[in-house]
Protein backbone atom coordinates (compact mmCIF):
# COMPACT_ATOMS: atom_id res chain seq x y z
CA UNK A 1 0.00 0.00 0.00
CA UNK A 2 1.20 3.49 -0.81
CA UNK A 3 1.74 5.80 2.05
CA UNK A 4 -0.63 8.80 2.29
CA UNK A 5 -3.32 6.83 0.54
CA UNK A 6 -6.13 9.22 1.42
CA UNK A 7 -5.95 10.86 -1.93
CA UNK A 8 -3.25 13.35 -1.06
CA UNK A 9 -0.03 13.59 -2.99
CA UNK A 10 3.29 13.14 -1.15
CA UNK A 11 4.00 16.82 -1.81
CA UNK A 12 0.79 17.86 -0.13
CA UNK A 13 1.53 15.59 2.81
CA UNK A 14 4.95 17.17 3.13
CA UNK A 15 3.30 20.59 3.16
CA UNK A 16 0.88 19.46 5.86
CA UNK A 17 3.75 18.25 7.99
CA UNK A 18 5.71 21.47 7.65
CA UNK A 19 4.08 23.44 10.48
CA UNK A 20 5.38 20.84 12.92
CA UNK A 21 9.01 21.02 11.98
CA UNK A 22 11.42 22.77 14.34
CA UNK A 23 12.31 25.36 11.73
CA UNK A 24 8.68 26.36 11.25
CA UNK A 25 8.17 26.57 15.00
CA UNK A 26 11.17 28.81 15.49
CA UNK A 27 10.18 31.14 12.72
CA UNK A 28 6.93 31.95 14.49
CA UNK A 29 7.94 32.04 18.15
CA UNK A 30 9.73 35.03 19.61
CA UNK A 31 11.47 35.32 22.96
CA UNK A 32 10.90 38.67 24.66
CA UNK A 33 12.21 40.00 27.95
CA UNK A 34 9.82 40.10 30.91
CA UNK A 35 10.43 41.62 34.33
CA UNK A 36 14.04 42.42 35.10
CA UNK A 37 15.53 42.81 38.55
CA UNK A 38 19.05 44.07 39.16
CA UNK A 39 19.63 43.44 42.85
CA UNK A 40 22.85 45.13 43.87
CA UNK A 41 24.44 44.77 47.27
CA UNK A 42 27.69 45.02 49.16
CA UNK A 43 26.76 41.56 50.57
CA UNK A 44 27.42 39.12 47.72
CA UNK A 45 24.73 36.66 48.86
CA UNK A 46 21.98 39.09 47.85
CA UNK A 47 23.48 40.35 44.57
CA UNK A 48 22.52 39.28 41.05
CA UNK A 49 20.45 40.12 38.02
CA UNK A 50 17.40 38.12 37.00
CA UNK A 51 15.48 38.42 33.77
CA UNK A 52 12.20 36.68 33.14
CA UNK A 53 11.58 35.53 29.61
CA UNK A 54 8.31 35.25 27.74
CA UNK A 55 7.33 33.51 24.55
CA UNK A 56 5.22 35.28 21.98
CA UNK A 57 3.97 34.62 18.47
CA UNK A 58 2.00 31.88 16.75
CA UNK A 59 2.61 28.49 18.30
CA UNK A 60 3.90 29.88 21.62
CA UNK A 61 0.66 28.81 23.29
CA UNK A 62 1.53 25.20 22.50
CA UNK A 63 4.81 25.35 24.41
CA UNK A 64 4.13 23.89 27.86
CA UNK A 65 7.60 24.04 29.40
CA UNK A 66 11.03 25.40 28.62
CA UNK A 67 14.63 25.01 29.70
CA UNK A 68 17.01 27.89 29.12
CA UNK A 69 20.73 27.76 28.55
CA UNK A 70 22.53 31.10 28.39
CA UNK A 71 25.19 31.08 25.70
CA UNK A 72 26.49 34.59 26.24
CA UNK A 73 25.43 37.67 28.17
CA UNK A 74 27.15 41.03 27.87
CA UNK A 75 26.25 44.56 28.83
CA UNK A 76 26.62 47.45 26.37
CA UNK A 77 30.08 48.20 27.80
CA UNK A 78 31.26 44.73 26.90
CA UNK A 79 31.42 43.11 30.37
CA UNK A 80 30.48 39.45 30.45
CA UNK A 81 27.74 38.76 32.96
CA UNK A 82 28.15 35.03 33.04
CA UNK A 83 28.54 33.74 36.53
CA UNK A 84 29.14 30.27 37.84
CA UNK A 85 25.45 29.69 38.50
CA UNK A 86 24.50 30.65 34.96
CA UNK A 87 26.79 28.01 33.49
CA UNK A 88 24.21 25.76 35.04
CA UNK A 89 24.05 22.07 34.76
CA UNK A 90 20.94 21.38 32.75
CA UNK A 91 18.14 21.07 35.24
CA UNK A 92 14.42 20.66 35.19
CA UNK A 93 12.06 22.38 32.78
CA UNK A 94 10.02 25.39 33.89
CA UNK A 95 6.34 25.04 33.21
CA UNK A 96 4.66 27.92 31.40
CA UNK A 97 1.17 29.25 31.90
CA UNK A 98 -0.25 29.63 35.38
CA UNK A 99 3.09 29.15 37.11
CA UNK A 100 3.85 31.82 39.72
CA UNK A 101 7.52 31.49 38.74
CA UNK A 102 8.06 32.33 35.07
CA UNK A 103 11.27 31.03 33.54
CA UNK A 104 14.19 33.34 34.14
CA UNK A 105 17.89 33.62 33.72
CA UNK A 106 20.26 34.68 36.45
CA UNK A 107 23.36 36.74 35.70
CA UNK A 108 25.97 38.82 37.48
CA UNK A 109 25.29 42.51 38.11
CA UNK A 110 26.32 44.79 35.26
CA UNK A 111 28.20 47.95 36.26
CA UNK A 112 26.07 50.94 37.23
CA UNK A 113 27.13 52.84 34.13
CA UNK A 114 25.87 50.08 31.81
CA UNK A 115 22.48 50.72 30.29
CA UNK A 116 21.49 47.58 28.38
CA UNK A 117 22.14 43.86 27.87
CA UNK A 118 22.60 41.55 24.90
CA UNK A 119 21.91 37.90 25.57
CA UNK A 120 22.18 34.77 23.43
CA UNK A 121 20.37 31.76 24.69
CA UNK A 122 19.30 28.34 23.68
CA UNK A 123 15.78 27.39 24.50
CA UNK A 124 14.49 23.84 24.69
CA UNK A 125 10.74 23.98 24.22
CA UNK A 126 8.42 21.16 25.14
CA UNK A 127 5.49 21.02 22.73
CA UNK A 128 3.35 17.97 23.59
CA UNK A 129 1.14 18.56 20.54
CA UNK A 130 4.03 17.30 18.43
CA UNK A 131 3.94 13.82 19.91
CA UNK A 132 0.83 11.94 21.09
CA UNK A 133 3.13 9.72 23.17
CA UNK A 134 3.92 12.73 25.38
CA UNK A 135 0.63 12.13 27.20
CA UNK A 136 0.61 8.78 28.86
CA UNK A 137 -2.55 7.43 30.44
CA UNK A 138 -2.10 4.64 32.95
CA UNK A 139 -5.36 3.04 34.05
CA UNK A 140 -5.96 1.14 37.27
CA UNK A 141 -2.86 2.47 39.01
CA UNK A 142 -4.62 2.44 42.38
CA UNK A 143 -4.78 -1.35 42.29
CA UNK A 144 -1.03 -1.60 41.65
CA UNK A 145 0.38 0.17 44.66
CA UNK A 146 4.01 -0.06 45.77
CA UNK A 147 5.21 -1.51 42.46
CA UNK A 148 6.80 0.40 39.55
CA UNK A 149 4.43 1.07 36.65
CA UNK A 150 5.56 -0.65 33.46
CA UNK A 151 5.32 1.07 30.08
CA UNK A 152 7.64 1.33 27.10
CA UNK A 153 7.46 5.17 27.07
CA UNK A 154 8.50 5.29 30.71
CA UNK A 155 11.30 2.85 30.02
CA UNK A 156 12.69 4.75 27.06
CA UNK A 157 12.47 8.06 29.00
CA UNK A 158 14.21 6.41 31.99
CA UNK A 159 11.32 7.53 34.19
CA UNK A 160 10.28 5.35 37.10
CA UNK A 161 6.87 5.92 38.68
CA UNK A 162 5.66 3.99 41.72
CA UNK A 163 2.16 4.67 43.08
CA UNK A 164 2.46 4.26 46.86
CA UNK A 165 0.22 3.23 49.69
CA UNK A 166 0.08 5.73 52.52
CA UNK A 167 2.13 3.44 54.77
CA UNK A 168 4.86 3.00 52.19
CA UNK A 169 4.87 6.74 51.50
CA UNK A 170 5.33 7.56 55.17
CA UNK A 171 8.06 4.93 55.56
CA UNK A 172 9.98 6.21 52.54
CA UNK A 173 9.43 9.82 53.53
CA UNK A 174 10.91 9.17 56.99
CA UNK A 175 13.82 7.23 55.48
CA UNK A 176 14.64 9.79 52.80
CA UNK A 177 14.15 12.88 54.90
CA UNK A 178 17.27 15.00 54.30
CA UNK A 179 19.34 15.90 57.29
CA UNK A 180 19.65 19.48 58.40
CA UNK A 181 23.24 19.49 57.11
CA UNK A 182 22.16 18.29 53.65
CA UNK A 183 19.48 20.97 53.45
CA UNK A 184 22.00 23.59 54.55
CA UNK A 185 24.48 22.52 51.88
CA UNK A 186 21.83 22.54 49.15
CA UNK A 187 20.42 25.92 50.14
CA UNK A 188 23.91 27.43 50.21
CA UNK A 189 24.48 26.10 46.71
CA UNK A 190 21.34 28.03 45.75
CA UNK A 191 22.93 31.20 47.05
CA UNK A 192 21.14 31.64 50.37
CA UNK A 193 23.09 33.01 53.31
CA UNK A 194 23.44 31.05 56.55
CA UNK A 195 21.03 33.40 58.32
CA UNK A 196 18.45 32.98 55.56
CA UNK A 197 18.88 29.22 55.58
CA UNK A 198 18.33 29.06 59.35
CA UNK A 199 15.18 31.13 59.06
CA UNK A 200 13.94 29.16 56.07
CA UNK A 201 14.53 25.84 57.82
CA UNK A 202 12.61 27.01 60.89
CA UNK A 203 9.74 28.10 58.72
CA UNK A 204 9.81 24.89 56.70
CA UNK A 205 9.44 22.94 59.92
CA UNK A 206 6.56 25.15 61.02
CA UNK A 207 4.84 24.85 57.63
CA UNK A 208 5.27 21.08 57.51
CA UNK A 209 3.47 20.86 60.87
CA UNK A 210 0.69 23.17 59.66
CA UNK A 211 -0.52 20.68 57.04
CA UNK A 212 -0.56 17.73 59.42
CA UNK A 213 -3.92 16.15 60.01
CA UNK A 214 -5.65 18.18 57.29
CA UNK A 215 -8.13 16.30 55.12
CA UNK A 216 -8.76 12.57 55.13
CA UNK A 217 -5.83 10.42 54.00
CA UNK A 218 -8.12 8.39 51.72
CA UNK A 219 -8.26 11.41 49.41
CA UNK A 220 -4.50 11.49 48.99
CA UNK A 221 -2.55 9.97 46.12
CA UNK A 222 1.11 9.17 46.71
CA UNK A 223 3.84 8.61 44.14
CA UNK A 224 7.54 8.08 44.04
CA UNK A 225 9.25 9.21 40.85
CA UNK A 226 12.78 8.83 39.56
CA UNK A 227 13.59 11.03 36.62
CA UNK A 228 17.31 11.54 36.02
CA UNK A 229 16.85 13.32 32.67
CA UNK A 230 14.03 15.65 33.79
CA UNK A 231 11.53 14.03 31.41
CA UNK A 232 8.47 14.00 33.66
CA UNK A 233 6.89 17.41 33.15
CA UNK A 234 3.59 16.90 34.94
CA UNK A 235 1.22 14.33 36.39
CA UNK A 236 -2.40 14.37 37.37
CA UNK A 237 -5.19 12.00 38.34
CA UNK A 238 -8.14 11.75 35.95
CA UNK A 239 -11.48 9.96 36.01
CA UNK A 240 -12.50 7.32 33.47
CA UNK A 241 -13.74 10.06 31.11
CA UNK A 242 -10.42 11.86 31.19
CA UNK A 243 -11.47 14.75 33.46
CA UNK A 244 -8.90 15.90 35.99
CA UNK A 245 -9.95 15.22 39.57
CA UNK A 246 -9.91 18.48 41.52
CA UNK A 247 -7.22 18.76 44.15
CA UNK A 248 -5.95 21.13 46.79
CA UNK A 249 -2.45 20.90 45.33
CA UNK A 250 0.52 18.63 45.62
CA UNK A 251 3.76 18.65 47.54
CA UNK A 252 7.02 16.88 46.89
CA UNK A 253 10.22 16.13 48.74
CA UNK A 254 13.53 14.69 47.64
CA UNK A 255 15.82 15.27 44.70
CA UNK A 256 16.98 12.13 42.85
CA UNK A 257 13.91 10.26 43.99
CA UNK A 258 10.90 12.44 44.56
CA UNK A 259 8.04 11.60 46.89
CA UNK A 260 4.75 13.21 45.95
CA UNK A 261 1.52 13.70 47.82
CA UNK A 262 -1.49 14.94 45.88
CA UNK A 263 -4.45 15.93 48.06
CA UNK A 264 -7.63 15.41 46.08
CA UNK A 265 -10.87 17.03 47.13
CA UNK A 266 -12.58 13.63 47.24
CA UNK A 267 -11.55 10.01 47.46
CA UNK A 268 -10.45 8.93 43.96
CA UNK A 269 -12.66 6.28 42.29
CA UNK A 270 -11.12 2.83 41.87
CA UNK A 271 -11.03 3.33 38.08
CA UNK A 272 -9.11 6.61 38.30
CA UNK A 273 -6.16 6.86 35.92
CA UNK A 274 -2.81 8.55 36.07
CA UNK A 275 -2.07 11.00 33.27
CA UNK A 276 1.65 11.62 32.87
CA UNK A 277 3.18 14.26 30.65
CA UNK A 278 6.52 12.98 29.41
CA UNK A 279 9.04 15.08 27.56
CA UNK A 280 9.73 12.85 24.57
CA UNK A 281 12.44 13.75 22.07
CA UNK A 282 9.83 14.23 19.37
CA UNK A 283 8.00 16.78 21.50
CA UNK A 284 11.11 18.81 22.29
CA UNK A 285 12.48 21.54 20.06
CA UNK A 286 15.73 23.40 20.62
CA UNK A 287 16.28 26.82 19.14
CA UNK A 288 18.66 29.73 19.62
CA UNK A 289 17.41 33.21 20.36
CA UNK A 290 18.94 36.64 20.81
CA UNK A 291 17.71 39.32 23.19
CA UNK A 292 19.13 42.64 22.08
CA UNK A 293 19.42 45.91 23.97
CA UNK A 294 17.38 44.89 26.98
CA UNK A 295 17.14 48.11 29.00
CA UNK A 296 18.57 47.97 32.51
CA UNK A 297 16.45 49.40 35.33
Amino acid sequence: MRPYSVGASPALCLFLLLPFTPAALASEIRVVPGAIEDTRSNSPEYAGLSLEIKLEGAGSEDVEAVRIQVKSAKDNLGSSLFRAASKQKRGSFDKLGGSPFPPKIVLANPPRDASSLNISLELEMFVPKRDPAARLRLDGFLSRLDKPLAHSTLKSAKVEVIPLSQKEYLDREAKNRPTREQLMARAKEDGLSEKEVELALGLMEAFSKMGEGEGPAENDVYLETKDPDYRLIDWKVIDKDGNELPSGGSQSTGADKKLWKLSLREKPPADAALLLTIRTSKATVSESFELKEVALP
Binding site: A35, T39, S43, S99, D190
Partner: protein, 316 residues
Protein backbone atom coordinates in the same frame (compact mmCIF):
# COMPACT_ATOMS: atom_id res chain seq x y z
CA UNK B 1 10.22 24.89 40.96
CA UNK B 2 13.80 24.68 42.17
CA UNK B 3 14.67 24.27 45.83
CA UNK B 4 16.26 27.73 45.69
CA UNK B 5 13.00 29.24 44.63
CA UNK B 6 11.08 27.29 47.24
CA UNK B 7 13.46 28.38 49.98
CA UNK B 8 13.47 31.95 48.74
CA UNK B 9 9.65 31.96 48.69
CA UNK B 10 9.46 30.46 52.15
CA UNK B 11 11.98 32.98 53.35
CA UNK B 12 9.93 35.78 51.84
CA UNK B 13 6.76 34.39 53.47
CA UNK B 14 8.68 34.19 56.72
CA UNK B 15 9.78 37.78 56.52
CA UNK B 16 6.16 38.79 55.95
CA UNK B 17 4.96 36.64 58.83
CA UNK B 18 7.56 38.13 61.11
CA UNK B 19 6.70 41.67 60.08
CA UNK B 20 6.07 44.01 62.98
CA UNK B 21 2.63 44.07 64.49
CA UNK B 22 1.90 47.56 63.28
CA UNK B 23 2.49 46.49 59.70
CA UNK B 24 0.24 43.45 60.12
CA UNK B 25 -2.42 45.61 61.69
CA UNK B 26 -2.41 47.91 58.71
CA UNK B 27 -2.50 45.04 56.27
CA UNK B 28 -5.90 44.13 57.69
CA UNK B 29 -7.17 47.49 56.53
CA UNK B 30 -7.44 48.91 60.04
CA UNK B 31 -4.82 51.29 61.25
CA UNK B 32 -3.40 50.39 64.63
CA UNK B 33 -3.91 53.22 67.08
CA UNK B 34 -0.94 55.56 67.11
CA UNK B 35 1.33 55.21 70.09
CA UNK B 36 2.23 58.19 72.23
CA UNK B 37 5.52 59.67 71.09
CA UNK B 38 8.00 59.20 73.87
CA UNK B 39 9.92 62.21 75.04
CA UNK B 40 13.65 61.75 74.39
CA UNK B 41 15.47 60.36 77.38
CA UNK B 42 17.48 62.71 79.54
CA UNK B 43 20.55 60.51 79.15
CA UNK B 44 21.60 59.27 75.72
CA UNK B 45 22.02 55.53 75.24
CA UNK B 46 25.46 54.02 74.83
CA UNK B 47 24.70 52.80 71.33
CA UNK B 48 26.35 53.81 68.08
CA UNK B 49 25.16 53.27 64.51
CA UNK B 50 27.40 52.01 61.71
CA UNK B 51 26.69 50.98 58.14
CA UNK B 52 25.76 47.40 57.35
CA UNK B 53 24.28 45.89 54.20
CA UNK B 54 23.38 48.22 51.34
CA UNK B 55 20.79 46.70 49.01
CA UNK B 56 19.74 48.50 45.84
CA UNK B 57 16.80 46.64 44.32
CA UNK B 58 16.31 47.93 40.81
CA UNK B 59 13.44 46.50 38.83
CA UNK B 60 11.25 47.00 35.81
CA UNK B 61 8.06 45.14 35.07
CA UNK B 62 7.59 44.02 38.69
CA UNK B 63 4.52 44.95 40.73
CA UNK B 64 6.71 46.56 43.40
CA UNK B 65 8.95 49.50 42.63
CA UNK B 66 12.65 49.36 43.36
CA UNK B 67 14.09 50.60 46.63
CA UNK B 68 17.34 51.22 48.42
CA UNK B 69 17.68 49.51 51.78
CA UNK B 70 20.44 50.41 54.16
CA UNK B 71 20.96 48.44 57.35
CA UNK B 72 22.38 50.27 60.35
CA UNK B 73 24.27 48.09 62.81
CA UNK B 74 23.65 49.21 66.37
CA UNK B 75 26.41 48.36 68.82
CA UNK B 76 27.47 49.48 72.28
CA UNK B 77 27.04 48.87 75.99
CA UNK B 78 23.25 49.40 75.96
CA UNK B 79 22.53 47.53 72.71
CA UNK B 80 21.86 44.25 74.53
CA UNK B 81 18.91 45.70 76.44
CA UNK B 82 17.15 47.33 73.50
CA UNK B 83 13.75 45.73 72.85
CA UNK B 84 12.48 47.67 69.83
CA UNK B 85 13.84 50.19 67.36
CA UNK B 86 12.34 52.81 65.08
CA UNK B 87 14.33 54.55 62.38
CA UNK B 88 13.52 57.91 60.89
CA UNK B 89 15.42 59.36 57.94
CA UNK B 90 15.80 63.12 57.89
CA UNK B 91 17.86 63.63 54.75
CA UNK B 92 18.94 61.24 52.01
CA UNK B 93 20.47 62.49 48.78
CA UNK B 94 22.36 60.65 46.08
CA UNK B 95 25.28 62.21 44.22
CA UNK B 96 23.03 63.12 41.30
CA UNK B 97 21.08 65.32 43.70
CA UNK B 98 18.00 63.08 43.89
CA UNK B 99 16.10 63.10 47.17
CA UNK B 100 15.86 59.48 48.39
CA UNK B 101 13.59 60.02 51.37
CA UNK B 102 10.34 58.12 51.01
CA UNK B 103 7.44 60.48 50.79
CA UNK B 104 5.15 57.99 52.44
CA UNK B 105 6.14 55.64 55.18
CA UNK B 106 6.64 52.16 53.78
CA UNK B 107 7.82 48.82 55.06
CA UNK B 108 9.71 49.21 58.28
CA UNK B 109 10.43 52.88 57.86
CA UNK B 110 9.18 54.90 60.82
CA UNK B 111 7.64 51.82 62.45
CA UNK B 112 8.57 50.19 65.73
CA UNK B 113 10.31 46.91 64.98
CA UNK B 114 10.73 44.34 67.76
CA UNK B 115 14.19 42.94 68.13
CA UNK B 116 14.56 39.39 66.84
CA UNK B 117 15.79 37.20 69.68
CA UNK B 118 19.36 36.04 69.22
CA UNK B 119 20.16 38.44 66.39
CA UNK B 120 22.37 41.51 66.45
CA UNK B 121 20.57 44.80 66.86
CA UNK B 122 19.88 46.52 63.54
CA UNK B 123 17.69 49.23 62.07
CA UNK B 124 16.50 49.11 58.46
CA UNK B 125 16.23 52.27 56.44
CA UNK B 126 14.03 52.10 53.38
CA UNK B 127 14.81 54.73 50.76
CA UNK B 128 13.67 55.50 47.24
CA UNK B 129 15.60 53.92 44.40
CA UNK B 130 18.55 56.09 43.33
CA UNK B 131 19.22 56.75 39.68
CA UNK B 132 21.29 54.15 37.90
CA UNK B 133 23.93 56.73 37.04
CA UNK B 134 24.31 57.69 40.74
CA UNK B 135 27.36 56.16 42.38
CA UNK B 136 26.95 57.13 46.03
CA UNK B 137 24.55 58.36 48.68
CA UNK B 138 26.01 61.79 49.27
CA UNK B 139 24.25 62.46 52.57
CA UNK B 140 22.21 60.37 54.97
CA UNK B 141 21.01 61.65 58.33
CA UNK B 142 18.31 60.71 60.78
CA UNK B 143 17.54 59.20 64.14
CA UNK B 144 17.04 55.73 65.55
CA UNK B 145 14.77 55.66 68.59
CA UNK B 146 15.40 52.80 70.99
CA UNK B 147 13.10 51.22 73.53
CA UNK B 148 15.09 50.25 76.63
CA UNK B 149 12.54 49.33 79.30
CA UNK B 150 15.20 48.07 81.70
CA UNK B 151 16.58 51.59 82.08
CA UNK B 152 13.49 52.62 84.04
CA UNK B 153 12.14 50.27 86.74
CA UNK B 154 8.84 52.15 86.73
CA UNK B 155 8.43 51.47 82.98
CA UNK B 156 7.57 47.78 83.45
CA UNK B 157 4.56 46.47 85.34
CA UNK B 158 4.74 42.78 86.16
CA UNK B 159 1.60 40.67 86.49
CA UNK B 160 2.72 37.32 87.89
CA UNK B 161 1.06 33.97 87.17
CA UNK B 162 -1.13 35.60 84.56
CA UNK B 163 -2.79 32.39 83.31
CA UNK B 164 -4.61 32.03 86.66
CA UNK B 165 -6.27 35.39 86.01
CA UNK B 166 -8.02 34.63 82.73
CA UNK B 167 -11.36 36.44 82.37
CA UNK B 168 -10.73 38.56 85.45
CA UNK B 169 -9.59 42.18 85.34
CA UNK B 170 -5.85 42.51 85.82
CA UNK B 171 -6.08 45.13 88.54
CA UNK B 172 -2.65 46.50 89.31
CA UNK B 173 -2.21 49.90 91.05
CA UNK B 174 0.61 50.91 88.68
CA UNK B 175 -1.75 50.43 85.72
CA UNK B 176 -4.76 51.98 87.44
CA UNK B 177 -2.65 55.08 88.12
CA UNK B 178 -2.18 55.39 84.35
CA UNK B 179 -5.91 54.75 83.73
CA UNK B 180 -5.03 51.50 81.98
CA UNK B 181 -7.51 48.62 82.25
CA UNK B 182 -6.44 45.16 81.08
CA UNK B 183 -8.09 41.76 81.05
CA UNK B 184 -6.85 38.47 79.66
CA UNK B 185 -9.79 37.02 77.74
CA UNK B 186 -10.55 33.40 76.92
CA UNK B 187 -12.17 32.48 73.61
CA UNK B 188 -15.24 31.34 75.56
CA UNK B 189 -15.59 34.75 77.17
CA UNK B 190 -15.08 36.34 73.80
CA UNK B 191 -17.96 34.26 72.43
CA UNK B 192 -20.16 35.52 75.28
CA UNK B 193 -19.11 39.10 74.54
CA UNK B 194 -19.98 38.53 70.90
CA UNK B 195 -23.46 37.32 71.81
CA UNK B 196 -23.93 40.18 74.28
CA UNK B 197 -22.85 42.71 71.66
CA UNK B 198 -25.33 41.19 69.20
CA UNK B 199 -28.16 41.37 71.76
CA UNK B 200 -27.27 44.92 72.69
CA UNK B 201 -27.32 46.01 69.07
CA UNK B 202 -30.60 44.22 68.51
CA UNK B 203 -32.20 45.97 71.47
CA UNK B 204 -30.79 49.32 70.43
CA UNK B 205 -32.05 48.79 66.92
CA UNK B 206 -35.55 47.93 68.14
CA UNK B 207 -35.61 50.98 70.39
CA UNK B 208 -34.44 53.33 67.64
CA UNK B 209 -36.84 51.81 65.15
CA UNK B 210 -39.69 52.54 67.53
CA UNK B 211 -38.46 56.07 68.12
CA UNK B 212 -37.33 57.16 64.66
CA UNK B 213 -39.03 54.80 62.28
CA UNK B 214 -37.85 52.35 59.63
CA UNK B 215 -35.20 54.61 58.05
CA UNK B 216 -32.65 53.95 60.78
CA UNK B 217 -32.93 50.16 60.55
CA UNK B 218 -30.35 49.82 57.82
CA UNK B 219 -27.80 51.90 59.70
CA UNK B 220 -28.15 49.87 62.90
CA UNK B 221 -28.01 46.65 60.94
CA UNK B 222 -24.68 47.78 59.54
CA UNK B 223 -23.39 48.74 63.00
CA UNK B 224 -24.42 45.38 64.46
CA UNK B 225 -22.77 43.57 61.54
CA UNK B 226 -19.55 45.54 62.02
CA UNK B 227 -19.41 44.56 65.69
CA UNK B 228 -20.06 40.89 64.94
CA UNK B 229 -17.49 41.00 62.17
CA UNK B 230 -14.89 42.39 64.58
CA UNK B 231 -15.46 39.48 66.98
CA UNK B 232 -15.33 37.03 64.08
CA UNK B 233 -12.00 38.50 63.05
CA UNK B 234 -10.68 38.12 66.57
CA UNK B 235 -11.69 34.46 66.52
CA UNK B 236 -10.22 33.93 63.09
CA UNK B 237 -6.91 35.60 63.78
CA UNK B 238 -6.19 34.35 67.30
CA UNK B 239 -4.14 31.16 67.18
CA UNK B 240 -4.23 28.44 69.83
CA UNK B 241 -1.06 29.70 71.51
CA UNK B 242 -1.98 33.38 71.35
CA UNK B 243 -3.16 35.50 74.26
CA UNK B 244 -6.05 37.91 73.82
CA UNK B 245 -6.04 41.06 75.94
CA UNK B 246 -8.95 43.42 76.31
CA UNK B 247 -7.36 46.84 76.57
CA UNK B 248 -8.59 50.23 77.66
CA UNK B 249 -5.75 52.75 77.47
CA UNK B 250 -7.17 56.24 76.81
CA UNK B 251 -3.84 57.98 77.47
CA UNK B 252 -1.90 55.57 75.21
CA UNK B 253 0.42 54.71 78.09
CA UNK B 254 1.06 51.06 77.13
CA UNK B 255 3.96 50.63 74.74
CA UNK B 256 4.26 46.85 74.49
CA UNK B 257 3.77 43.51 76.22
CA UNK B 258 6.09 40.58 76.94
CA UNK B 259 5.41 37.15 78.35
CA UNK B 260 8.10 35.79 80.66
CA UNK B 261 8.14 32.10 81.56
CA UNK B 262 8.45 30.90 85.19
CA UNK B 263 12.25 30.98 84.73
CA UNK B 264 12.09 34.65 83.69
CA UNK B 265 13.02 33.89 80.06
CA UNK B 266 10.88 35.59 77.45
CA UNK B 267 8.39 33.45 75.53
CA UNK B 268 9.12 34.07 71.86
CA UNK B 269 6.52 36.14 70.09
CA UNK B 270 6.06 36.94 66.43
CA UNK B 271 4.29 40.21 66.93
CA UNK B 272 0.94 41.51 68.04
CA UNK B 273 -2.27 42.64 66.43
CA UNK B 274 -4.37 45.52 67.74
CA UNK B 275 -8.05 45.24 66.90
CA UNK B 276 -10.68 47.63 68.26
CA UNK B 277 -9.86 47.52 71.97
CA UNK B 278 -8.28 44.06 71.85
CA UNK B 279 -4.66 43.04 71.43
CA UNK B 280 -3.62 39.60 70.28
CA UNK B 281 -0.14 38.57 71.41
CA UNK B 282 1.21 36.12 68.82
CA UNK B 283 3.18 33.28 70.33
CA UNK B 284 5.02 30.38 68.73
CA UNK B 285 4.39 28.04 71.68
CA UNK B 286 1.80 27.67 74.44
CA UNK B 287 2.40 29.94 77.43
CA UNK B 288 3.91 27.85 80.23
CA UNK B 289 2.15 27.71 83.59
CA UNK B 290 3.51 30.28 86.05
CA UNK B 291 4.31 32.82 83.31
CA UNK B 292 4.10 36.56 83.93
CA UNK B 293 2.79 39.34 81.74
CA UNK B 294 5.10 42.33 81.49
CA UNK B 295 3.38 45.55 80.52
CA UNK B 296 5.88 48.08 79.20
CA UNK B 297 4.75 51.64 79.74
CA UNK B 298 5.77 54.78 77.92
CA UNK B 299 8.12 56.69 80.23
CA UNK B 300 10.77 59.18 79.10
CA UNK B 301 13.63 57.16 80.60
CA UNK B 302 12.65 54.00 78.71
CA UNK B 303 13.51 55.58 75.36
CA UNK B 304 16.64 56.99 73.82
CA UNK B 305 17.57 58.50 70.51
CA UNK B 306 20.68 57.73 68.49
CA UNK B 307 21.32 60.23 65.73
CA UNK B 308 23.16 59.06 62.63
CA UNK B 309 24.95 60.93 59.87
CA UNK B 310 26.84 59.37 56.96
CA UNK B 311 28.27 60.74 53.76
CA UNK B 312 29.68 59.23 50.59
CA UNK B 313 28.07 55.81 50.96
CA UNK B 314 29.19 53.93 47.87
CA UNK B 315 26.32 52.41 45.93
CA UNK B 316 26.86 48.76 45.00
Amino acid sequence: MTRGRILSSIFLCGVLLLAPSTVLGQAKGKKAPARATPTPAPEPAKVTASLGTVLDRRSAGKPFPGSLQIVLKLDGEDAETVKQVKAKVKTALDDSGQDLTQKESSGRQDQWVPRTLGRPLEANLELASPQRKATAVRELTGTVTLHLPLRDPSATVLIPDVLTRIDKPLDVPALTAQKVKLALVSKQALEKEKQAAKEKEKAKKAKEKKKKGEGMEEMFDAMGDAMTEMFERLFMTAGDNDLILKVSDPGKKVFSYDIAGPDGKLVESYGKLDLEGYTILRLFEPVPKGSSLRVNLVTPKAFAEVPFSFSGIKLP
